[in-house]
Every structure is written in structure tokens, then in C-alpha cells.
Symmetry: C2
Subunit: 381 residues, 2 copies
Amino acid sequence: MSSDTNRQGFEILCRDQGTQGRCGLITTPHGMVHTPAFMPVGTQATVKGMTPEELEELGVEILLCNTYHLYLRPGEEVIARVGGLHRFMNWNGPILTDSGGFQVFSLSPLRRISEEGIVFRSHLDGSEQFLSPEDAIRIQRRLGADIAMCLDECIPFPASYSYAQESTARTLRWARRCKEALGAQPEPLLFGIVQGGTFEDLRRQCAEELVNMRFSGYAIGGLSVGEPHEERIRMVEFTINHLPEDLPRYLMGVGAPEDLLTFVPLGVDLFDCVIPTRCARNGLTFTRFGKLDIRHAVHKYAETPIDEECGCYTCRRYSRAYLRHLHMAKEILSARLLTLHNLYYYMKLMARIREAIHQGQLKAFQEEFFRDWNAQKAQAL
Amino acid sequence: MSSDTNRQGFEILCRDQGTQGRCGLITTPHGMVHTPAFMPVGTQATVKGMTPEELEELGVEILLCNTYHLYLRPGEEVIARVGGLHRFMNWNGPILTDSGGFQVFSLSPLRRISEEGIVFRSHLDGSEQFLSPEDAIRIQRRLGADIAMCLDECIPFPASYSYAQESTARTLRWARRCKEALGAQPEPLLFGIVQGGTFEDLRRQCAEELVNMRFSGYAIGGLSVGEPHEERIRMVEFTINHLPEDLPRYLMGVGAPEDLLTFVPLGVDLFDCVIPTRCARNGLTFTRFGKLDIRHAVHKYAETPIDEECGCYTCRRYSRAYLRHLHMAKEILSARLLTLHNLYYYMKLMARIREAIHQGQLKAFQEEFFRDWNAQKAQAL
């Protein structure tokens, strides 16, 4: 970590009383992030439907962008020539880029893993591509990431012990190569990713070896891939016990509202997930009392907003009847207004979580959240 | 016209010296419209991709909404129950609704015209529907239009004289029924539509009879349906000569930038067209020097905005390289940013046209416009 030279890094501001939850501050070349934080996903250098100014107004402090997508289109060269991702997309806050590995596994119609890296086919044009740990670091640096991720393999669920063992060992070797590729450069911050499937000994071994390599933060990867909910909780809890207290922990790809209230109390600092934005485009919105499906016929004549308690632009101005109409008519404004609402909901929820931690009341807030959330009376409101 | 009771109506503010162009003011229940004006199209109760606040900031004073679409979805009942179109879509300025006739002819897979009205099939679900002149007025009133249009038949091009004669006579009878359906109500303003194909005597007869019925304004319909450019100009010029000086003239569905500079000098006051919004979604943008296609490979690395002279949000913040990427990646933000630019271009152009009229310099401005526009050097800028 390079906090000596330019004060980048992580600082814990306070800890909750009854849980492992904590509030912190990540300092990056493009500013600070208050944790626990939720990172909206800007896959193709845009959070679908939103301008950067709108995100800023919502209180978004950090975005995640997908290296795989940007590498294929428009290509690292385009973004690098224009001066990097921040300038390209007009977002001046911190950006975390993933390594591209996860998307290679989930989107590429063909891939072949070797010690050297991953051969895959572009989902756009079928062209053969190659991604090594060194490539992943080079691309993320050229994109101008504030936080970069090591190239890893996300192990599917279920996986045999022997496959998980072999894969995790390779992920560790790749992590070392990523660290070396970055060299002594202070930027970006580089996070290691703990894999190991659902096997405790592999998770522990992976965490310990990564910690020995001294990354700026640690991610828990390979979850939310189909494993049972209890298994996910067990793995997060177990893995966090093997990570340093004083560095950020990032739970990758997990981030339904219930997840935030499940994993912050276990000590997770960072989340990313497409749920708020993708659900919005599908007509699903969030309220204190659960999900509200704007497509539902019950909203046809409804003059009420999505959530009468909500202060977002969408809820201050538009009826469910109008929002339902826009969605049914496949209007762009539907995606905009519902995304705005869902991100507002998320940002507000994270702010309340941080506040609860500051007050040492996270447990009580968690109970209150689940009581309301499980009431499932949003539709009828 | 009801200007006696509530001052609705039209006032001419000034006339150009060398052309028939004039500046005016239309007063409606929801405020005033400075003419010549361009009306962005909000087909389904939304100008695709834009919020009402954004339109207002762009200087948009009046929108056009399509009765046909809104009648089919969400239905007049939904909009009426929520309190009308203005409240439904959160737009507090004037709204002009068309009668639904044009879309019936262009979108419905089947239609049958009788004296009574039009039987057609919904393009959404194939259901059989019926629209009479009285229906068209009832629906537009329930939507809460500020300016309503008479139900007419848009004669295709080419059409035989006998068909055009028969159709125009029916359009006139329907116009009378529309006027009667409105009764003595002061709202909405009701415009008659001059049809007659490309036959001067039919156009004259239609105009004269409509004028005798005393509408609040007159539209020139049935153009931009495939007729040669010269024919269109001839018909507009000819028709306007048979319309009252002191009432607004609306050229329906015509509105490429060149059209605005062609027809304002002939005395047209109102335009509507999907060009700025639809082109934006297809990657076509407007500049002083002609159209710029953002998809063009020449923009791949371009750090310049669409138009360096333009002061719109898009041009102040985003490079062509980024806009091209967004469009190629089919991102929602592309439609937003390019629509914003194109509408800004249109609003600015209309403001400059009005200014030129006030200065008695419309002819000179027209020449300047066409000199730059035809230079076609936008792509290379």
C-alpha cells in the first residue's frame, strides 16, 4: 500500500457495537469513498440511463466499470487516447475496474484456461482474444482505474474439491503476477480476490497467501454463483476472519437490499451489483416494504408515487400510473426514472447503514429493515 | 375563437420585411407559445428520453402528443382519471394533440373509412377500434389538450383527382362535426386541417370552407407523404394564400432543419416532426454545417464535441469518441445525450429565426443558413 507517498488507502472511522460492521474511508486518486459503500455498475462506461451529475446528486461516490466490456468495445486504446475512463465518461470520482475474468467466464462462448492466461472469444464478434494477469493490469491502468482487481478464476458452483484446489492455486499465482505487473507504482490501488469455492480450507489458504502478498484490499469472489444462501453467509463470515482488520473487504457481485443488511454486519465494506439498475429496466422497484413491480395491473390508475416516503425525483413527480405506462410502452424515460429511484433507494439505505454503525445500532437497524422488508406490502401501498 | 372570454388565441408581434415570415404569440390555457415554433413530438406522453424539466430548460414551449397512441395505451380513461395529460406526464406547458387520423392511416394494419368515421385495428393487439370525428374531439378533451385537431384523412401521394376530391369533401364534413362536437366550450383551441392533395382547386376549396367554419388556427396537412419537394413548397405557398392573416398556420409533420428555413419565410407558424428525436436515437446529429453521423469511424478517437460552437450539455461535456461508443454499445445515455443536442439545436435555430424576423432580416438569415448547411463539412470538423 502506498499511503506513505500519497495518502491513498483505508482508514476505519468507527466500529459498531454488536456486530462486525464498521465505517471507513477509502482514499483514491479521485477522492474518497465512505464505507460501507455500494458501487453502481457502469459496465460500458455508463451506469445505464444516468448522467454522472445525476449519480453525484444521488450521493454515489464510486463506480464499477467492467474491463472485459471496455477492452472489447471501444477498446483500451480509445479510452487511453482520450485520457482515461474518467475523462471519457465525464465522471470525476473514484472508479473500480474488475479484472475482466468474471465476464470472460460468464459471457464468452468459449474459453480455455492455461497457466499463462485465458483464451476466449468475444461475445460481440466471435474474435479470439487472450487475457493474462499482466494484460489485466495493463488494461486497468490504461483505463485509469483508481482501484484495480487481480485476474482470478471464479469457480462455478458446485465444483469438485480437486478442481477448486487447482483453480485456487492458479488464482494465487495469477495474483502474484498481477502484483508484480503493477510494480512499485502507487496507482491504482490493487485488490486481491479470495477464491476457494465453498471449501473452508481453500478459502483460508487463499486468504492467507494473498494477505502475505500485501494488497491494498481484499475481495471475496466466487459467491452469488448459485450456492445456497446459508453457504454464502458461512463463506463470507469464514473468509473475513482470515482478512486483515485494517483493510477494505469487498464482496463481489452481491448486492440485493437484503444482502447489504446481511453482510455489512459481518464486516463487508464494499458491494457492487447490477440489481438496482437492471431491476429498474425490468420494472422492479424497491421500497421499505419490499419490491414493487410497476407492471402490475393494480397500478394502472394509481396516482400515488412508487413510495410515498421517498424523496427522489421520480417519487416527487410521477404517479405509478404514468410509470407503468412508460414501462409498458418501452419508453426510455421509464428506465431513467426507475433507475433513479432504485439508486436513490440504495444510496439512502447505505447512508442509514453507516449512520446506524456510527450510533452503534446496526443490529437494531438490521432487525427493523428485515421486519419491514419481509412485510411485502409494497404492492398494496 | 374564444379570445373574448379568456384571452386564448393568436397575436402577431411583428412581420419580416422581405418574406411572409412573422412572429406571433399563441395563448393557451397552459401558457404562451412564441411562433414560429417547433413542437417536439411526445408520442406516448413522453418526448423519448427527456424529462419535462430538460425540455423546459431547452426552451421548449409546446409539445405534440399523439392521440392514436394514447387512446390505445394507456387509454383515455387512465389519463383522464389521473387528471389529464399535463399532470400525467408532469408537463405544465401547452400541449397540442393530433386527432389520431394520421396514425390510423400510417400504423393500423387495416382500416375502413365510412362517412361515420374510421374502423381500424390496433397495431398493438389487433383489436378492432372505431374513431369518429366526435370521438377524436372527446378523446382530445379528456386528454386535456390545449390545442386539438380535427379528424381528417391524409390523402396519400400520388392520388387520383376523384379520390382526392371525395376525401377532401369528407374531411370538410368531419371538420364541421368536430366543431359542433366541441360546441361553445372555450377549451381546447381547435384547428382545422386543409387537405386536397396536390390539387390547387381542392386545396383552395378546403381552405375557404374551413375558414368559413371559423377555427382558432389552420393546419396544412397531407404533405411530406412522398410528393416532390417543389410540389410541397407550391402547395404550402398556395394554401397559405387562402388562410387568414391573423390566425396561426401549422405545417403538419414537416420539420427537417431545411424545412424550417424554407417554410417560415412562406408564413408558417408551427411545425412538428420526429426528426430531431428519431435521428438522435439513430446516431444522427445536427450542426450548423449539416448532419453529423456519430457512428462514423472517423469519430473513433475524436476528443472534440459534436459541435464546438454548441453550448448544450452534451457538447460541453462529451467527446465524439464517447458518444460514438455509447451509440455502438446501444446505451440509453446515447439516446439521451444526442436527443438533448438535437433539440437544443432546433430550439436555438427557431430562436434565431424569430430574432431574424424581428430584425427584418429573415431572407439574409435563410441564405446564411443554407450556405453553411450545404457546405456539408460537419463530419470533418
